[in-house]
Amino acid sequence: MSSIGTGYDLSVTTFSPDGRVFQIEYAAKAVDNSGTVIGIKCKDGVVMGVEKLITSKMMLPRSNRRIHSIHRHSGMAVAGLAADGRQIVARAKGEASSYESTYGEGIPVKELAGRVANYVHLCTLYWWLRPFGCGVILGGYDRDGPQLYMIEPSGISYRYFGAAIGKGKQAAKTEIEKLQLSEMTCREGVIEVAKIIYKVHDEAKDKAFELEMSWVCEESKRLHEKVPDELLEEAKAAARLALEEMDAD
């Protein structure tokens, strides 16, 4: 699948003879190197979770937020280069805010995803800009119900029932496919997301990690917020238990 595009990969404005833009593919690799980020759409909302790899023991827990609220009703989990992610989040917040100022109502999630995708794509069109080295999972709840979108460094954006990016994305996707999302509530979804992240975390290659989760659902009154602490602890405990049971086999 991966190949070196010698000579055709120096600029994002160069196509290779077989029709690929290598710079964009390399940007996607930057995302693959980051901790896993998952999002699922349950029947009453969206849950997102991030495997935050801890690079230093001296880092303060709960710092280095990877999930950001874009607006009251939508949030974004970022994987890849953190600084690039900050730009995208800032732009999304600006779009959401200006939409509300102009149109008098909250930005529909579909519209927000479209605007973020446009912005990310913009940076793949000019040789003096480099593509964003981050993928984004956008979850929100608007008049048309809960929705989940994923935007890749190429600027592609699709709507998903479940999405995963980062190191453990293949394994995570397999786990998500096993879930019955249409029957699951977000409360149950939080537990499942925690289990998946603990499962796909590679103990050998990466040391410690911190789990960060957010949801936007009926229980949170359709507002995007951090998963409440007791539920988060419950999810972590269930995930650890599931891991032990797996190891015991």
């Binding site: 102009t102 149109y103 109502e105």
Partner: protein, 234 residues
Amino acid sequence: MDCLNLNEPHSMGTTIIGVTYDGGVVLGADSRTSTGVYVANRASDKITQLTDNVYVCRSGSAADSQIVSDYVRYFLHQHTIQLGQPATVKVAANLVRLLAYNNKNMLQTGLIVGGWDKYEGGKIYGVPLGGTILEQPFAIGGSGSSYLYGFFDQAWKEGMTKEEAESLVVKAVSLAIARDGASGGVVRTVTINADGVTKNFYPGDTLPLWHEEIPAQNSLLDILSAPSPEPMSM
């Protein structure tokens, strides 16, 4: 005559009304456009389309209200394409008030935005002179509306049927026409609901007569050709 100045800007003295009913809205207006005391258009259509499901009643300066409607129609059209579905009444009203507020020094127009969308149903938003936006179960505007405040206080009720709402609007506009010199002509109504848009037209002779009003006559010559009255019998 120094009271007939044909260079005065066209203004729509006007009576405009928007009411919600159970399932949609009814918008109503008179049809008089005046230039000073001269009636420039006695059959104008003051209820203008913004989108398939949102209309606006215009009052005040004819030019100002037309240009605001044109801009909002243009913005809403683009918004609908972008969104992929019909715009909501709230969005239409918000665009109207942004124009009205940000250009308040130059504009003199009061507008009533009304329509139906699948999320909120029938809604009426009043956007009076300064650019306020206020969502209301019913709204009245224009010079003729001064005479209708008491009437609506008494006659308005929540949850009317379509027929009740329409007859309320027609009655109200015709009362205002009777008392306001700057309102007159015919009564036009536009009803918007889930099934679509229905436009109605009530010429002067179909409207009820109020206190001391004289019945309409085509010509005084009709009196001459009328038969002499029968002698009374005791």
